[in-house]
C-alpha cells in the first residue's frame, strides 16, 4: 500500500520543475550570469556611452572581427605562428627546468652554483630583455622561443627542486629499510612525491609563457597574435585588437584547464 501512495504523489513534486531547478543550481548560475551581465554592460558602454570605435570595440564587433579574420585566414596565420613560438619555448623551458631542478635537488654543487642565478633571474622581469633577444636573434620565431623559455624555466626549476626537497624523510626511510638504492629512492619516492609541485610549476609557466609570446612579438615580429595586436593598435582597428586579446585569453584558459585535467589523471591520490 505504501508503495502505491508514493507513486501517486511523485508527479506532484514535478509541477514546479523550474523553481526546483533554480533552488538546486542557484549557486552555479552566478558565474554565467556575471559574464553575461559584463558583456551586456560592455556592449551598452561601447555603443551608446563611448560610441567611438577608435577607442573601444563592442563584443558584437569583436565577434564580427574574429569571423572576418577567420574567413581571410589571417587569424589562423597569426595564431599558428604564436602557437609555434609558445610550444617550442614552453616545452624546452619545462624540460630544461625539470632537469635543472632535479640536479639542484640531488647535488649540493649544482645547488650552490645555480641558486644565485635562479633567484636573481626569477625576480628580474625577463620580458624586459625581449628587445635584446630580437636584436640578437632577429624578428623570426627563434627570438620569441628564447623569451618564452626564459620565462617558463624559473618557476619550473624552483618548484621541481622544492618538490624533491620536501619529500617526507620518513617515506625515504621506509623504502631504505627494504634496501632501496639511491636511484630507487628517487624513482619510487622523491619523484612521485614532487609531481604535484612540478605540475604547479608547469601551470605557472603557461601564463608567463603567453605573456612572453605577446610581449616579444610587440617588440618586433613578422606575424603572431602579439603582432596582430600591435599592428591593429597602430591603425586604431579596435575590433581586430580585441580579437587578438580574446583569442589569447581563450588559449590561456583552455591550456590551464587541460593541465588541471591532466593533473587529476596523473596525480589521482590528491
Amino acid at each position: 500500500m505504501t508503495v502505491d501512495i508514493r507513486q501517486a504523489r511523485a508527479p506532484a513534486s514535478r509541477i514546479v520543475p523550474v523553481k526546483a531547478f533554480m533552488k538546486a543550481h542557484s549557486d552555479r548560475l552566478w558565474g554565467p550570469a556575471s559574464i553575461l551581465g559584463g558583456l551586456l554592460l560592455w556592449e551598452v558602454l561601447s555603443r551608446f556611452v563611448i560610441a567611438n570605435t577608435l577607442l573601444l570595440a563592442s563584443p558584437t564587433q569583436i565577434v564580427g572581427a574574429i569571423l572576418e579574420l577567420l574567413a581571410s585566414g589571417e587569424l589562423q596565420r597569426h595564431f599558428f605562428v604564436s602557437a609555434q613560438e609558445f610550444l617550442w619555448g614552453y616545452v624546452s623551458g619545462c624540460v630544461l627546468g625539470v632537469l635543472l631542478g632535479l640536479s639542484m635537488a640531488n647535488s649540493v654543487a649544482a645547488q650552490r652554483a645555480l641558486q644565485p642565478w635562479v633567484s636573481g633571474l626569477y625576480a628580474t622581469p625577463t620580458v624586459a630583455l625581449a628587445p635584446l633577444f630580437i636584436l640578437w636573434f632577429g624578428v623570426g620565431i627563434f627570438s620569441k622561443v628564447i623569451v618564452v623559455a626564459l620565462l617558463v624555466i624559473f618557476p619550473v626549476i624552483i618548484n621541481t627542486e622544492a618538490g624533491i626537497r620536501t619529500t617526507n624523510p620518513q617515506l625515504i626511510e621506509t623504502v631504505r629499510s627494504f634496501g632501496a638504492t639511491r636511484f630507487q629512492i628517487f624513482t619510487k619516492v622523491s619523484l612521485p612525491s614532487a609531481l604535484p609541485f612540478i605540475f604547479a610549476g608547469f601551470k605557472l609557466g603557461i601564463g608567463r609563457g603567453l605573456i612572453g609570446v605577446v610581449v616579444a612579438e610587440l617588440f618586433g615580429a613578422r606575424a603572431g597574435l602579439g603582432q596582430l595586436i600591435s599592428q591593429s593598435a597602430e591603425t586604431f582597428n579596435m575590433p581586430a585588437l580585441f580579437a587578438g586579446v580574446i583569442v589569447l585569453a581563450i588559449a590561456g584558459i583552455l591550456l590551464t584547464s587541460a593541465f588541471t585535467w591532466l593533473e587529476r589523471k596523473l596525480v589521482p591520490w590528491r
Binding site: 617526507n168 620518513q170 617515506l171 626511510e173 621506509t174 623504502v175 631504505r176 629499510s177 627494504f178 634496501g179 632501496a180 630507487q184 619510487k188 619516492v189 612521485p192 612525491s193 609531481l195 596525480v267 589521482p268 591520490w269
Partner: protein, 265 residues
C-alpha cells in the same frame, strides 16, 4: 629428542652492543639472544634507546661497538631477511594498498606476478581483502597499520621488527590490533621484535619481555612470560597477567618518573 628442530636455534644474537650520540650513551653493552619463532618485546622509559636498538638490528643505523648477527651473519645495512614495521604507517600516498604492500618486492627486483597469489592471501590474512585498490587517505588508522604490517610481511622476512606500531591508534583499536597481530603471528610464527612503551601490550604479546633502563640504555631484566597461547583479551584481567605487569612497572617506575621530570623542565 634427537630431532634437530627441537633444539632452540639462535636466530638473532646481539652481543656487547653499544651506541652513543655524541657524549650521550644511548645503549651500553646490550646482550640478547633471540630464538627462531620467538615473540620478544622491548619496553622501557622514553630515552632508553629501545627504538635505536631496533634500528641497529634493522640496519638503519650503525652501532659503535659490539655485534649483531642474524643466523650467524653480521648485519651491515637493511636486508630482505628483516621486515620493518614503522610507528607512523609511512604508506606512499600515491600507491594503492596492493602496490604499497608490494614495494619491498619491487625494490628487491622480484617479478610481481610470481607473488600475486601470496600477496592476495597475505592481504586477506591482515583483513584487507576487498581494499586492494584503495589509496591510503581512504583508510582508517587501524587499516593503515594493517597495510604497514602486510608490507613488512610481503618480503617474507625471517625477523619482523616492529617499532611501536600501535601507539598512534586509539585504545580500543589498539587492543583489537594486538589480538589481530597474535592471530597473524600464529599463522607463520615469525621471529618478532616488538618495541613498545606500554607494559600490558608487551606482556600480552610476548614470550619474553626485555626491560631496558635509561642513561645509559641497558638491559635491566628479561622477563619470561609464562602464559598459555592462544591468549584471549580477557587474559589481561587475570592475576597472573597483572602480576607480570606490576613486576615490570616496578622495574622501570623510577626511570619513568625521572624521565617525566626531565621532559618537563
Amino acid at each position: 629428542m634427537t630431532d634437530a628442530s627441537y633444539l632452540p636455534v639462535s636466530k638473532l644474537r646481539v652481543s656487547n652492543l653499544s651506541k652513543r650520540f655524541g657524549s650521550l650513551e644511548v645503549l651500553k653493552k646490550i646482550e640478547l639472544d633471540v630464538v627462531k619463532g620467538e615473540f620478544i618485546s622491548i619496553v622501557g622509559p622514553s630515552g632508553c634507546g629501545k627504538t635505536t636498538l631496533l634500528r641497529i638490528i634493522g640496519g638503519l643505523e650503525h652501532s659503535d661497538e659490539g655485534e649483531c648477527k642474524i643466523n650467524g651473519k653480521n648485519i651491515d645495512g637493511p636486508g630482505k631477511d628483516r621486515g620493518f614495521v614503522f610507528q607512523q604507517d609511512n604508506l606512499l600516498p600515491w600507491r594503492t594498498v596492493q602496490s604499497n604492500t608490494e614495494i619491498g618486492l619491487e625494490i628487491a627486483s622480484e617479478r610481481l606476478s610470481k607473488h600475486r597469489e601470496r600477496i592476495r592471501s597475505l592481504l586477506e590474512l591482515v583483513g584487507l581483502a576487498g581494499f586492494e585498490n584503495y589509496y591510503p587517505r581512504q583508510l582508517s588508522g587501524g587499516m593503515r597499520q594493517r597495510v604497514n604490517l602486510a608490507r613488512a610481511l610481503a618480503i617474507d622476512p625471517q625477523i619482523l621488527l616492529m617499532d611501536e606500531p600501535f601507539s598512534a591508534l586509539d585504545a580500543q583499536t589498539r587492543e583489537i590490533m594486538q589480538t589481530e597481530l597474535l592471530r597473524i603471528w600464529e599463522e607463520g610464527r615469525k621471529t618478532v621484535l616488538f618495541v613498545t612503551h606500554q607494559i600490558d601490550e608487551a606482556v600480552y604479546l610476548s614470550d619474553r619481555v626485555v626491560v631496558l633502563a635509561r642513561r645509559p640504555g641497558r638491559i635491566q631484566e628479561i622477563v619470561e612470560v609464562d602464559l598459555p597461547r592462544p591468549r584471549p583479551l580477557s587474559i589481561k584481567r587475570t592475576p597472573h597477567f597483572v602480576s607480570y605487569v606490576d613486576h615490570i612497572w616496578k622495574l622501570i617506575e623510577h626511570d619513568v618518573r625521572e624521565s617525566v621530570l626531565v621532559e618537563h623542565i
